[in-house]
Amino acid sequence: MTTTSAPAPSARRRRSKLALRNTLIGWSFILPNFLGFATLTLVPVIVLFYMSLTNWNIFGNAQFVGLQNFIQLSKDGSFRVAFLNTLYYSVMHIPLTIIVSLGLALLLNNKLRGLAFFRTAAFFPYITSIVAIALVWNLLLSPEYGPVNEILRFLGLQNPPGWLTSADWAMPGVVLVSTWRDMGYYMVLFLAGLQTVPRELHEAARVDGANAIERFVNVTLPCLRPTMFFVTVMLTINSFKIFDLILVMTQGGPGQSTLVISQFIYRMGFEQNKFGYASAAAVVLFFLCILVTIGQFLWDKKRSS
């Protein structure tokens, strides 16, 4: 192009011209997506922080009230319940899903017959809509006539749990369904991770006399660290923001036994139109997810070095 005729002194200018050209080209590629991304994600996130410091409501009045919303939030019994319920759900859902999906992945990694069929079956719940899953499981778990309790009675359980009608069992019921739904997805991630475990390491450990459990702890798990990290981060974020499944299954009930943070935000924002107050709760959810993710990042980094 024009570059061949340019003399040496202008090399620096040429380079900066090239940089400018690259910047323009780069931005032209990114812009169509970025416009949508910025207006629908970045800007709302920034506006969120401002809103959380105001008493914005349905009438459009917005006065700056400082940390008032957060102070009120800390005294709000419903919010405390929602916060604790979210943690309760996460503490059950995260380990249970990891154990089940890793177990299935290990099984599938063993060259048993019928793998293709099983992988399809395991993935099926994940691609089915939450509404269908929630409605079907609602009926499956119905205490009197639901098939689940019928099977439990058949197995000799005299008083099977009331599941979604009981304040104690509603959350375990939701965890059961969400684990059932998610395990195929995380199983696929673990399977991909297991493919990266070098076979020679297993052979070497076997020669050294390590049994299956020792090999799992000392060979498989360390090699799975990147996958485990990704899975834990995704599972944690997804658990903290759990909403649609609960909305269709229990609507937060019975009482407040399955009320979670996301639903609290929804109720305050879209049902009571207290936008400022709802935003404050949303900020809490935001930081909960971000801080835990950063914490997991740092911990992972420390362990890998």
Binding site: F29, F37, T41, V45, L112, F118, S129, S262
Partner: protein
């Protein structure tokens, strides 16, 4: 690299070492295998029985859905449930709206996502990496936390209660950019270099070289986006008020809550109709689904 690795995931189960059996070891091995199979059968049953029950219940008269002991297969198939859901609800409208949304969102996501991914993967300019970090960072930000400001902005733009709201909401996600960038980085730079020498512009390289090469990745992204949009419930719940705008998920959900005495046979017929298209798409494109998901997790 990532895609290659997942290829093995999809196809690589067959090639294995010959199993060495040594005396007492083999007996234990057989037992272990048997336990493994038993576990698989139980897990598969747990995963598929709810679906089987749903489909079978859609063919039962309402009063036979709950019976003790459970009737897995009805004696007479009541196909009338499917006629009824069609006439008693707006399911035709719901399907049309859901299709419009899913197709529009998928096309937009593919186009803008792969375009932006090329910029991130192959054009070097200052600020690029920071910008990409902002994209990836938002994957850790739950939509639930900024749905209220987003709603207020869209309602100021008079876009609430229109299908546009859902299209805008879903079409510019960071996930598509991320997935396509992962793929583009596996394409050898020499290909693009050669094309550049032949006088092709960056846009030409994207159009003539990258797009054709990335068909498998585009297929993954298309399937994941389509299914996601088809199944979305929260977006339509918040944005779509008019019955004429309801999607499949919103319609079915409201079908349950709007009736005092739900005819469960009819409800199950509706649910089956909503699940079947996704099931078929999934079975046809299974390979791409698994690859897309495994790739997104590969980075770690």
């Amino acid at each position: 690299m990532a895609i290659d690795a997942t290829h093995t995931l999809v196809t690589g189960f067959s090639g294995g070492r010959p199993v060495r059996t040594a005396g007492r070891d083999s007996a234990r091995r057989v037992t272990l295998r048997a336990i493994g199979y038993a576990a698989l059968v139980v897990a598969a049953a747990a995963m598929l029985l709810p679906f089987f029950w749903m489909v079978m219940s859609s063919l039962k008269p309402s009063n036979e859905v709950f019976t003790a002991p459970i009737v897995w297969i009805p004696e007479v198939f009541v196909w009338d449930n499917y006629v009824q859901i069609w006439t008693d609800s707006g399911i035709g409208t719901w399907i049309r709206n859901t299709l419009v949304l899913s197709i529009a969102v998928t096309l937009l996501q593919l186009l803008t996502g792969s375009f932006a991914a090329y910029g991130f993967a192959r054009v070097k300019f200052p600020g690029r990496d920071v910008l990409f970090l902002a994209y990836v960072g938002t994957i850790a930000v739950p939509w639930q936390s900024y749905m209220i400001p987003q709603f207020i902005m869209l309602s100021n733009a008079k876009l609430t209660n229109t299908l546009w709201a859902i299209i805008l909401l879903q079409a510019f996600g960071a996930f598509g950019v991320f997935l396509m960038k992962q793929f583009y980085e596996t394409v050898p730079e020499e290909l693009a270099e050669a094309a550049r020498l032949d006088g092709l512009s960056e846009y030409g390289i994207w159009r003539r070289i990258m797009l054709p090469l990335s068909v498998p990745a585009l297929a993954s992204l298309a399937l994941l986006t389509f299914v996601n949009t088809w199944n979305d419930f929260l977006g339509p719940l918040i944005y779509l008020r008019d019955k004429e705008l309801w999607t499949m998920q919103l319609g079915l959900r409201n079908f349950v809550t709007s009736l005092y005495d739900v005819n469960y046979g009819v409800l199950f017929a509706g649910l089956t109709i909503s699940v079947v298209p996704i099931a078929i798409i999934f079975l046809l494109g299974q390979r791409y689904f698994v690859e897309g998901i495994a790739t997104s997790g590969m980075k770690g």
